[in-house]
């Protein structure tokens, strides 16, 4: 018996991968929706957007690429539903080359439902180099048309005929909300150079689950008002805005994967304990 448990701490990694694959695949196929209790961070994020002034603009930090579409994409869907439902006008800017096109694709998909029109209700300032993010944000807060120059269609941001939204969006004084969706550390630059402007603007952060622990200190200090933690945050937010989407469908797979990892850890420790308890054969007892 001890020998059997002892072998549990050396399960071949290929078996682990296969079990994980089968468990996740089945969970994704089975149409089960799980209830989710929203976290305080997600509730605060929802409240921040619910209370955001509609006569001011929102800045959307589109800093995620296709690799994190499952988490950040789902968060973007949920957040855009809420922003558009509240008729808050917004500008998109990104420091990942795939970020603005990804967010733009989502906005274009949802725009007809809420009557959003490009140039009037939203604008996309496009991609700016990541390794100049600090210089760009520092200049952006003071003069947005001057620093961003043109939108994703190469229209000059001072052309308020083609882009009427820019008539009222000159600098951070007109911004009432910041939403930063990112799997990387761009949020640090947003907090340092944008959020603190003019006494502080409410900032909602939507990181991947891996990056979330580092952001709790900003929640504590009040520099961020709310956070969507990875896929779980997206699931919670979809529930709060009552727009169940792809994140809600993945809730079961998320649960199953977590439980499987915990089970593997328990099995490994059972094997470890059994190995320690195994009677050791003394040298003099050997034939």
């Amino acid at each position: 018996m001890l020998a059997f448990f002892g072998r549990l701490q050396s399960i071949d990694r290929r078996v682990i991968y296969l079990v994980m694959f089968v468990a996740a695949a089945i969970s994704l196929i089975v149409p089960v929706t799980l209830p989710v209790i929203p976290s305080n961070q997600a509730l605060n994020a929802f409240e921040a957007i619910e209370k955001a002034p509609t006569d001011k603009y929102a800045l959307i930090g589109a800093d995620w690429s296709n690799s994190t579409r499952a988490e950040n994409g789902a968060q973007t869907y949920a957040l855009m539903h809420h922003l558009m439902r509240r008729h808050i006008k917004f500008a998109i800017v990104g420091f990942d080359v795939q970020g603005p096109p990804n967010v733009e694709q989502i906005v274009k998909e949802l725009a007809p439902k809420y009557g959003y029109e490009y140039g009037r209700d939203w604008v996309d300032w496009g991609f700016h180099p990541y390794n100049a993010i600090k210089a760009t944000l520092k200049a952006m807060v003071r003069d947005m048309p001057g620093s961003m120059k043109h939108d994703i269609n190469n229209t000059d941001l001072t052309d308020t005929v083609k882009l009427p939204i820019m008539a009222g969006l000159k600098n951070m004084d007109q911004v009432g909300l910041i939403v930063e969706i990112t799997p990387a550390d761009t949020y640090e630059s947003w907090v340092a150079f944008v959020q603190g402007y003019g006494g502080g603007k409410p900032m909602v952060h939507a990181p991947t689950a891996v990056m979330a622990p580092e952001a709790y200190q900003f929640l504590d200090s009040g520099q961020m008002v709310g956070m969507l933690t990875g896929l779980k945050g997206a699931i919670e937010y979809e529930g709060m805005v009552k727009q169940p989407g792809r994140a809600t469908k993945q809730a079961l797979a998320l649960s199953v994967a977590h439980v499987l990892i915990l089970l593997l850890i328990v099995l490994g420790n059972l094997g470890y304990i059994a190995q320690k308890r195994k009677p050791q054969t003394r040298l003099e007892d050997q034939p």
């Binding site: 701490q9 399960i11 990694r13 682990i16 991968y17 994980m20 694959f21 996740a24 799980l34 209830p35 989710v36 209790i37 976290s39 305080n40 690429s65 296709n66 690799s67 994190t68 579409r69 499952a70 700016h128 180099p129 990541y130 390794n131 100049a132 210089a135 760009t136 520092k138 200049a139 952006m140 003071r142 003069d143 001057g146 620093s147 600098n171 004084d173 689950a209 622990p213 580092e214 709790y216 200190q217 929640l219 504590d220 779980k232 809730a251 998320l254 649960s255 994967a257 977590h258 439980v259 499987l260 990892i261 915990l262 593997l264 850890i265 099995l267 490994g268 420790n269 470890y272 304990i273």
Partner: protein, 286 residues
């Protein structure tokens, strides 16, 4: 006198605009070509310099570049037209443009580096040359379709959109998502291998990890859903304990590490800014 110096300084942007007005059309292209030629000449001249000469230029440029942001941040600012401003603040957009242009050079540098590396492999028929050929096909196809589909005349043509979607959403999206999802499997095997209750600290770590993980998913929340949401017993709910660990244990620890890292980053940045680093970056002739 200070005001006179400040006025002179503030007049520099206007002077620059007068000396170098924006040009369009053929004149604009001539300026761009001239700038490129000038850069090539400067680059060639810089290559002829000995390491000591190169270091002098690097030290000077590094110091002046850093000095701008240091002064702009630390020199006291006044409220001008509702915004905080000192004598360097009007130059922020110019410097930001410069920074973005220099940063964009990295894209060209990266492509040059990749093309050189893989080109040599294909030309020599080295081991794995086929994968280098795949690189060139992917690079050319993605670049071509991206630019082709972006041109206004092609924007709405269905075939172009479909090919672009196949390459971008089907190819790149799928491949990047795959690599990210591979992490889930690696986490499972790494956690299984590494988390052993060897001593008291490891047991504590295990317990905390268990609570935090269970607090993130419905399965864990279901375990304690029968407990009240308010009162003393609410603290025994998995999501409450998980939240407490993340906000009251994890956050202070991350903040403490962040303080140390911040001071370390300041020290390293200071050494680089003042070129106090010795033994590298063209310091000695090799």
């Amino acid at each position: 006198m200070i005001k006179a110096i400040g006025d002179w300084f503030n007049g520099i942007p206007e002077w620059l605009h007068r000396m170098f007005p924006a040009h369009t059309g053929a004149v604009g292209w001539a300026f761009i070509l001239g700038s490129v030629l000038l850069c090539i000449v400067l680059f060639f001249l810089a290559q002829q310099l000995r390491p000591a000469g190169r270091k002098a230029i690097i030290v000077t440029v590094t110091f002046l570049s850093g000095l701008f942001y240091v002064l702009e941040f630390y020199v006291p600012a006044k409220i001008v037209n509702g915004q905080e401003e000192n004598f360097l603040t009007p130059f922020l957009p110019v410097v930001s443009d410069l920074a973005q242009i220099v940063a964009a050079f990295a894209l060209g540098l990266g492509i040059y580096s990749l093309v050189t590396l893989h080109g040599k492999k294909v030309a020599k028929g080295s081991q794995g040359w086929f994968y280098s050929l795949v690189f060139f096909i992917s690079l050319i196809a993605m670049t071509f379709m991206g630019i082709w589909n972006w041109l206004p005349v092609h924007k709405d043509i269905k075939v172009n959109n479909n090919i672009h979607d196949i390459l971008y959403l089907g190819g790149l999206n799928g491949l990047e998502g795959t690599m990210f999802s591979v992490i889930a499997f690696y986490i499972a095997s790494a956690a299984y291998r590494a988390f052993r209750i060897r001593n008291a600290e490891a047991s504590l770590l295990m317990g905390a990890a268990f609570i935090v993980m269970m607090g993130q998913v419905y399965a864990g929340q279901w375990l304690t859903h029968w407990l009240p949401t308010e009162g003393l017993l609410a603290n025994a709910r998995v999501e409450t304990m998980s939240d407490w660990l993340l906000t009251r244990v994890n956050a202070p620890a991350v903040r403490a590490i962040g303080f140390g890292l911040g001071v370390g980053l300041l020290a390293t940045a200071l050494r680089i800014w003042l070129s106090l680093e010795r033994g590298s970056y063209f310091d000695r002739e090799v």
